[in-house]
Each structure stands twice: as C-alpha cells, then as structure tokens.
C-alpha cells in the first residue's frame, strides 16, 4: 500500500550546545492511507512536535515530510496554508474554536478560507453523525467540552481532508465523553476514508489504533 505520510530523517532541535533539546531526532515513519496511528509517549518526549511537523505548523531543523506526492516544506507559505486547509484537518486538545463565530461557522471555517462552498449533503451528514444538529447556531462558549470537541472534529472533517491530525483530542474530557469522542472519530474516518494520526498518552485509547508509534526523546522507539 502507498504511504500517505512519510518522513525522512525528520529533525527538530531547540537550543545549542549542552542546552540542545532534540524534540524530533531523525524520525523516519510511513503511514498508509486509511490507517489510524496513535503516537504515544511521555510528556516532553516530542509527540506534539512530531504532529506539528507532520501538519506543517512548525519547520524542521532537517529532513522532509511528504504527504501524498507533496514535500510540504518545499511549498511557499501561501501554498502551505492552502495545502493545510485542503488536505489536513486538525483537532486540538483545547478544541481551539473561534469564539466570535457560531458552531456552523466554525465548522465551515477551512472551506470558507479556501473561498469555496460547502458540500451541503456532506456537511449535513457530518453534523448529523456528530449530533450537532441542534447546536449549529450556538456560540462555542455555550457548549460543554464534549460538544466543543465534536465541533472541532466536524471542522476537521468538513473540508474532506486526507489526513486528520489530533493532539490529545480527549485530554480535556472525562472518560465517558472521551470514549464517545473517540468512537465518533473512529467511525468518521472509516466512513470518509481518512487517515488519522493521534497523539495520546492514554494506553487504553492508543489500543484503539491500528498501530502505535512510541516516542522517546524525539525518537521512534517502536
């Protein structure tokens, strides 16, 4: 099967000399299309740095990230921004919804930024499956944590990206809600044929993935 995400000697160092921190140290991974990969590791092991590098949010000290046929760091700023909104969906631990716009507008944000119209049927389907139908015109601050994370998932799915990058999506939720969200996420990627890369330090959640990458001191150890 063809790898949709591939890194080659991916490095991200902070500081110099004795103070140098290797947040990503010669990482070589390949993730196949439709795969659900969990990245696990202790706090400070470099999980988030790897996710940010995969999503083009941070620039590496060395190495490459290839998504599909595109080496993302060879893209210009505007191309990378367009690539992100079309190909990658982000889900953050703290939801990161825009507080000034309502649920529906938050979901439509990546499509709007691309200057396109949403696929109405697809949008309705997402909203339906994430049980957000009654909340589309609510403001983010009126929603519970679980509801906010469901909006974040809907926003990540709306532009039909190839890859979803989730940074501890259940980290701020209680166990029951966390499991619900995970179930929704997994159902969604199966339904829409997407690839999911998820950071977690919860072993139970990691077990739900097709594959677990364990990170230690910026290196993939298993």
């Amino acid at each position: 099967m063809q790898a949709i995400v591939q890194t080659n000697d991916l490095c991200k160092y902070y500081g110099t000399g004795e103070n140098m921190v290797k947040a990503a140290d010669h990482i070589n991974i390949a993730i196949e299309k439709g795969e659900f990969v969990a990245i696990a590791g202790k706090s400070g092991s470099g999980k988030s740095t790897l996710l940010h590098l995969l999503g083009g949010l941070d620039h590496p000290t060395g190495g490459t990230v290839r998504i599909g046929q595109t080496s993302i760091f060879s893209l210009k700023e505007a191309e990378l921004a367009a690539f992100r909104r079309r190909k990658i969906g982000f889900i953050f631990q703290s939801y990161n919804l825009i507080s000034s716009i309502d649920v529906l507008e938050n979901i439509l944000l990546p499509i709007g930024l691309d200057g396109k119209k949403a696929d109405a049927a697809f949008l309705e389907d997402i909203i339906e499956s994430l049980s957000l139908k009654d909340r589309t015109h609510s403001m983010p601050n009126t929603l519970s944590g679980g509801q906010q994370q469901r909006v974040a998932i809907a926003r990540a799915l709306a532009a039909k990206p190839d890859i979803l990058l989730a940074d501890e999506p259940t980290g701020n939720l209680d166990t029951k809600t966390g499991m619900e969200v995970m179930h929704l996420l997994k159902t969604s990627i199966r339904k829409y044929g997407q690839t999911l890369v998820m950071i977690t330090h919860d072993e139970e959640l990691a077990q739900m993935a097709d594959r677990v990458l364990l990170i230690e001191d910026g290196r993939v150890v298993s």
Partner: protein
C-alpha cells in the same frame, strides 16, 4: 513585601505585553500633558515677559476724545498714565499711504516705542520713519542727521507744504508695510505746536492705564473700563481695549482658560478610556486567576489592591519618564524655533502633570477594580469572555470579511469604546481644520481687488477746499479713466479684459442727525451687486428689488446704527460736473465693508438720474498669466505718467494677506499635529491590544489554513473599520462644532474668514493620514505576529 504587592509585581511580569501597553499608554498620556501644559506655560511666560514689548502697556486707547473727556479722564481716580498720539499730517507720496503722528513721552513709554536707531524727534523739524519710506521718497542711502524734503498736508487738509526735515532715527523695517505701501512716520510735539496749534482741531487717540487694586482679571477689567468710560460719556466704539496685553499681564479669566481646560479634559477622557480598555481586557484574561485567588481566601479589598498596585507601579515608571521625555521634546522644539536653550521645567506644573495623569489612571482602573472585586470564585473559574452586544445573524458561508465583522460584533463594547476614544481625540482636529482650512487669503485679497490682476483707480479727495482740483468730481471732469485711457490699457500686449466701476461724489444730508458731508457712492451692476451680497449683513439685499425701489445699501454695517436704520431715507446731491443732481431713496440694507464707498446704488437707478459726466473711477484689468510682468510694468509707467491715479496689483495684495494669515495658520497646524499624535497613539494602543490579545486565535486560524495574505487582509480590514468609525465620530460632531467655531471666529473678525466651506483638503489629508498610519501599523503588527512560530502562537497563553 506584602503578598498583594508581590502578586501585583508578578502580574506585571507575567503579562508583559499588557504591562508594556499600559505603561506606554500612561507614558504617552504623560508626554502629551507635559508637552501641552509645559509648552503653554513656556509660551505664556515668554509672551508675558514680552507682552509690554509686543502689545504696549496701555490698557486701551480712546479715539478722538473731546477736551471735556480728556479733562474728566485726567481727574478720574483710576485712570493714570494718559498718553496722546496725534495725527499730524499726511505725507504726499504717489502710490503710498503715509501718515505722520506725534506722540508724547507717556504714549511712547506706554507703547514701548523705541526707534531701531537714533532717537524720537524732539525738534520741530525732526522726523523718524522706516528706511524704506525714505528710499521710496528717493533718498537711496538715508542716514541719521540727513536732511530730507517732504511734501505734507497738515492734518490731511489745507495747503501742501514743502518741508525740510532732519532724520532723527529709523524704525525697524516691516515687510507688511512695504507690501501694503503704508507707512507711519513720527514727528515731534514742537512740530504740532508749530503747525497745528488748535488743540480742538487735532485728531488724537489717548492711551491709558487703570489702577487694579481689586485684582480684577482681564475680562473683568475690560468690562470695568467700558463701564467707566461710558459713565464719562465716551462711546463704546471710541474705546479700543488692549486685550492681548490685559490677558497676559493679568489673570486671563475663565473665557481664556476654558478652551485649555476643555483640551485637558479631552485628554483626560481619552487617555482614561485607553488605559481602561487595556485593563479591562487584562481583567477578562485573568478572571480565572482572580477566581482562584478568591477561592484561596483573598478578599475584595485585596483584589482591588492588586490591580491598584499594578497600575501605580507602572505609573511610577511611566510618569517620570513621560515628564522627562516631554520636557526634552519641548526643549528640542523651542531650540529648533528660537535657537536658544529655554527653561521649560516647572515643579508645580510637574506635580500637576503627575496628579492629572494619576487621576486618569485611577479613573480608568475604577471599573476593572470593581469587576475584579465582585468576581465570585465559582463563576470566575468557569468564566468565559462575556459577549457584549447581540449576535449578528450567522451565515452559511464564512469569509475573511464575515470573520472580521463577527469579531468586532462580539466585542461590541470594546470596539465602540475604541472608536469613540479615537473619534474623540480627532474631533478637535476637525474643529480647528474647519477654522484654519477656511482662512482664504485669495478671497481676502479679492475683497480688495475684486476682478482681474490689476486695479487702477482715481486717487481723489472728497471736498478738498484748498485743492478743489484734487476732488473726485473735478478729476472725473478730465475724463481721466475715459475711453482714451481704456484704449491705451487695451493696447498693452497681454491684456485680456477690462472692467470699470463708477464712483460718484455726493453731498449727503442725513435727516436723522441733520449733518451734511461729502461722501462717495459706488454704482454697481447686477454681477457686482451679487458679489457684494456675500457680505450682506442687514435688510433685503437684492438687485432687482433695490433697483425697483431706487434703494441704497450702507456698506459699513458697523457704523449703520449711528447714521441710519434700515428703511430710513437717504438724501443727497450727486456732483455731476458743475451740476448737482438731487437723489432720494430708502436705505434697504447693509453690508460688512467695502473699499470703494460708504454707499452703493444700482446701475439701473444711476441710469435713471440722467448723469452726464463719465464717472468711471476704477478700472480692473485682467491679463494673460505669462504677460503679467510686462503688463505690470506698462501699467506702472502709465500710472506714473498721470496724476491722480493709483495702481494696485493682485499679487502684491495676496502676498501681504498671505503673510498675515500664515502665522495664524502655522499656529493652528502645529496644534493639529499634537492632536493627531493623540489620535494616533490611541489607535496604536488599541490595535496592539487587539492583535496581541488575539495572537492565539490568529494562530489557530493560520493552522486551519488561513494564508498570510488573508491574515494581513483581516488585520487591514479591522483597522479600516476602526478608521471608518473614527472618521464618522470625528467628522460628524467635529464638523458641526467646526462650523460653530468658524462662525464665532468670523464674528470676532479673524482674517480671511468669509464663507464657510467644508475643509475638504484638510479632511482628506486627515483621512488619508489615519488610513495610512493604520495600514502601516497593521502591516508592522502582522509582521511582528508572524515572526513568532505558528505553534508558539497556538500555544500562546499570556
């Protein structure tokens, strides 16, 4: 250290951006208050020390007092230092207006009259004047002690005398005198005794001082003087108060202090709102922290104290540095203007600045302190930014524009406060632009020379009994400006158009006062009449109506009440060659002023009188722009070759008026720049606060795929909306208040103010400057935000 103080200091350190912004706002406020208050004080002190030098020490002058009035004033307990300036003679110099005066020692002392070189004339044959006057008389290199022969007419009447004078000294040169071709020269008191023995016949003005034992302020003194002179039977129009001197030498009174207080109050409001805005945002960001502190046992007083300590700590740094910077800026500005080191610092004023700035800081944190104190621990921990204003209707499509609008609508209160503060600081700018922008040198020059580039007129007298040939009607008999003259002017290459105006000399009998005198009547056609209408003051000023009723306009409205009332009958005999043509008609209206004559009648009425003489007295000449110099030379030759003609050039008139207007305009625009700085400081503060506090949100938007271009566009759009709001707030009330200020200044007789027009150029400059500065600021801020890595922005928590 007390715990609350520790928490406040750590709060300052933790919220660096907010602390820097608050410190900057306090700093800029202090700088502005320092510059304005210290600057005003330094200028006032400079003016005060030079007040006597600049304006003279006389409290006022009384024009043409009678012998009885002079005696009464001498005996009056409160009037002292009475000095006299007497009109001695008219000096005949073709093309120039020169009058000779004699001043007594008291008047010289009061007016600080000092020759540039030499002494004031003491001997009967001594004279003091500007060098340029003697040069115009043909003495190329005049020196003190040189003999000069001048043609004079004592008291402006009687026979012309050739008199030899000795130059006793020179007065300093004045460009405006040269441009206006007007000089005042001075002769001695023995000269008066020799040539103008009859004191009753002398036209004099009397300078005076008044004892002020009860320490009245300038305004009260003015009223007091007018009351005392009125009690002596002196008319108000005879009294001219030396207001600038009184204002500078005594307490100016509320009327003067009020505008300064208004400006300081505006700064107080604006700066308080700016600081309030910053603190308000900070409280919202830290509301959870305050909740935790409350949960841990902090009481209301302690929470209030934390904020107060923070504000005072920041003030402790910003206020002294603001005062220091303000003083340095002022010193540099004064040095640039005067090339000398001025002492601008004043301890009492520094205390005032500290008090004033602290007041604005305390006012601004009052509400945030209350908010922080009122927080319930449970609510605060759960707290999300309160959404003010109603939600705008959501759309199914999201764009950069809708995103911007959503943000502004969500923070409606903050947005409106920002727009209001920015607008308020710009209102004064617009008000002053309405006055300064309406100072029209061209129009003022056109008042003197209505049409074309040149004006040639008959330089004639009215009722000169010694030299009747100099009288207007006698000169008109020679057809000096008749068809031959017009032909000669028309033949000058480059002349494109010629217009003429008739002036008639008339013997006027006023039925109200019973007095008769010779005066001039201008005859105008409909077009000229409509030009005069712009200065209409009273009555119905309409050509057809005036022509139909054979009406007359009175052209010196200021004096109308002393002569006529609207509707009164005007009676005269028009001097038509050797004939006298009787005329009678109603006074239908009055105008502000006229250079030509005291009365005006319509061409239609004039035609109906059957006048035979050609009464053309003024010729307006227009020419091609390129030929102006050669036409001027030809007309100057023509004027020199003929007696009784006087030439005025538009460019010379304009240059003179420009010189007079420039000073006022420069002062206004300097003030405008200071106001613009306040406005810009506000905008900068608001935009920085707005952007820095939303750094994370921007990070998220960029992570979701917002390109740098879209990001820049969003910031620019936000800035533009602020600018649009600011412009709306400042332009609407600003222009209304500006119009009121224009009317007030016009009424007070400010130079160059005629008809109101919106100062479009100034407002456009102002608009473009705001848009430009906002765009530059948005660009710099977005560059600054983008410098930080995207991941850092997403993680950003202040």
């Amino acid at each position: 250290m007390k715990l609350t103080r520790k928490l406040a200091i750590s709060g300052i350190k933790a919220q660096k951006t907010r602390s820097v912004l608050t410190a900057a706002a306090i700093f800029f406020t202090t700088v502005l208050i320092t510059v304005i208050s210290f600057g005003c004080r330094a200028i006032l002190q400079e003016q005060k020390s030079n007040a006597a030098e600049m304006y003279g020490e006389q409290f006022g002058t009384i024009a043409a007092p009678t012998r009885q009035q002079k005696e009464d004033l001498k005996l009056h307990a409160r009037f002292y230092n009475l000095g006299t300036k007497t009109y001695a003679a008219n000096v005949i110099l073709k093309g120039y207006d020169v009058n000779a005066y004699a001043m007594d020692a008291t008047m010289q002392m009061l007016s600080h009259f000092r020759p540039e070189s030499g002494t004031y004339p003491e001997k009967e044959n001594e004279i003091l004047a500007q060098r340029e006057f003697f040069k115009a008389q043909g003495y190329e290199n005049p020196g003190v002690g040189d003999a000069v022969t001048l043609t004079i007419r004592i008291n402006g009447a009687g026979e012309q005398l050739q008199k030899e004078f000795v130059i006793s000294g020179f007065l300093s040169s004045s460009k405006s005198n040269d441009l206006a071709k007007q000089y005042s020269v001075y002769v001695s008191l023995p000269f008066l005794d020799a040539y103008l023995k009859d004191e009753e016949a002398r036209a004099a003005s009397l300078g005076f001082q008044v004892s002020n034992e009860t320490n009245l302020n300038a305004e009260e003194l003015k009223k007091d003087i007018l009351q005392m002179t009125a009690a002596l039977g002196i008319k108000e129009k005879q009294v001219s108060i030396n207001t600038p001197y009184l204002m500078l030498a005594f307490d100016p009174g509320m009327e003067i202090l009020l505008p300064a207080l208004c400006i300081l109050l505006t700064i107080l409001i604006v700066s308080s709102l700016v600081i309030y805005n910053i603190f308000h945002v900070a409280i919202i960001q830290r509301i959870r922290e305050y909740g935790r502190l409350k949960a841990l046992g902090a009481d209301r007083r302690q929470l209030r104290q934390i904020l107060l300590t923070e504000a005072l700590a920041l003030s402790a740094v910003s206020i002294p540095s603001g005062i220091l910077s303000g003083v340095l800026i002022l010193k540099a500005a004064f040095y640039a203007l005067s090339q000398k080191n001025s002492s601008v610092f004043s301890l009492p004023l520094a205390v005032f600045v500290v008090f004033f700035t602290l007041l604005s800081v305390l006012l601004s944190i009052r509400k945030p302190m209350k908010t922080a104190a009122k927080i319930s621990p449970v609510e605060a921990i759960r707290y999300e930014d309160k959404k003010s204003g109603r939600r705008r209707k959501a759309k199914n499509r999201i764009t950069v524009f809708s995103l911007t609008m959503s943000n502004l609508a969500l923070h409606k209160k903050r947005t409106l406060t920002t727009i209001f503060t920015m607008g308020l600081s710009c209102v004064l700018f617009v008000v002053i632009a309405n006055v300064a922008g309406n100072m029209d040198a061209d129009r003022q020059a056109r008042e003197n020379l209505e049409y074309g580039r040149f004006r040639i007129e008959i330089d004639g007298a009215l009722n000169d009994q010694t030299y009747p040939e100099h009288n207007l009607y006698e000169i008109q008999k020679t057809k000096i400006l008749g068809s031959d003259f017009i032909r000669r002017v028309r033949s000058i290459p480059g002349v494109t158009d010629i217009r003429t105006r008739k002036i008639a000399e008339a013997y006027i009998t006023n039925p109200n006062t019973g007095k008769s005198a010779y005066d001039a009547i201008a005859i105008v056609n409909e077009e000229e009449f409509n030009w005069l209408k712009k200065n209409a003051e009273r009555g119905v000023v309409d050509y057809d109506n005036t022509a139909a009723q054979n009406g007359v306009l009175y052209m010196w409205d200021h004096f109308l009440d002393e002569e006529y009332r609207i509707g009164d009958t005007f009676q005269c005999e028009i001097l038509d060659g050797d004939r006298r043509v009787p005329f009678q008609g109603p006074i239908l209206g009055s105008c502000g002023h006229s250079n030509d004559a005291v009365y005006t009648m319509t061409e239609a009425t004039f035609q109906s009188l059957g006048i035979q003489e050609d009464m053309t007295s003024i010729v307006f000449i227009d020419c091609e722009k390129d030929a102006e110099a050669s036409v001027k030379a030809a007309l100057t030759d023509l004027e020199a070759s003929m007696e009784h003609l006087s030439l005025t050039c538009y460019d010379d008139t304009l240059a003179l008026i420009d010189l007079q207007i420039r000073f006022t305009k420069n002062a206004c625009y300097t003030f405008l720049i200071i106001l613009a700085a306040i406005g810009f400081m506000n905008m900068a503060n608001t935009m920085i606060t707005n952007i820095v506090t939303r750094k994370r949100e921007f990070g998220i938007l960029q992570a979701l795929g917002m390109s740098n271009r879209q990001f820049n566009c969003m910031l620019q759009l936000e800035g533009l909306l602020f600018t649009a709001g600011t412009l709306f707030i400042s332009l609407l009330p600003g222009n209304l208040l500006g119009y009121a200020a224009f009317c007030f200044c016009k009424k007070e007789g400010f130079i160059g103010l005629f008809s109101y027009r919106l100062p479009v150029f100034e407002l456009l400059c102002f608009t473009f400057a705001i848009i430009g500065l906002q765009a530059a600021l948005a660009f710099l801020l977005s560059r600054n935000v983008k410098k930080e890595a995207l991941v850092d922005r997403i993680r950003y928590h202040e």
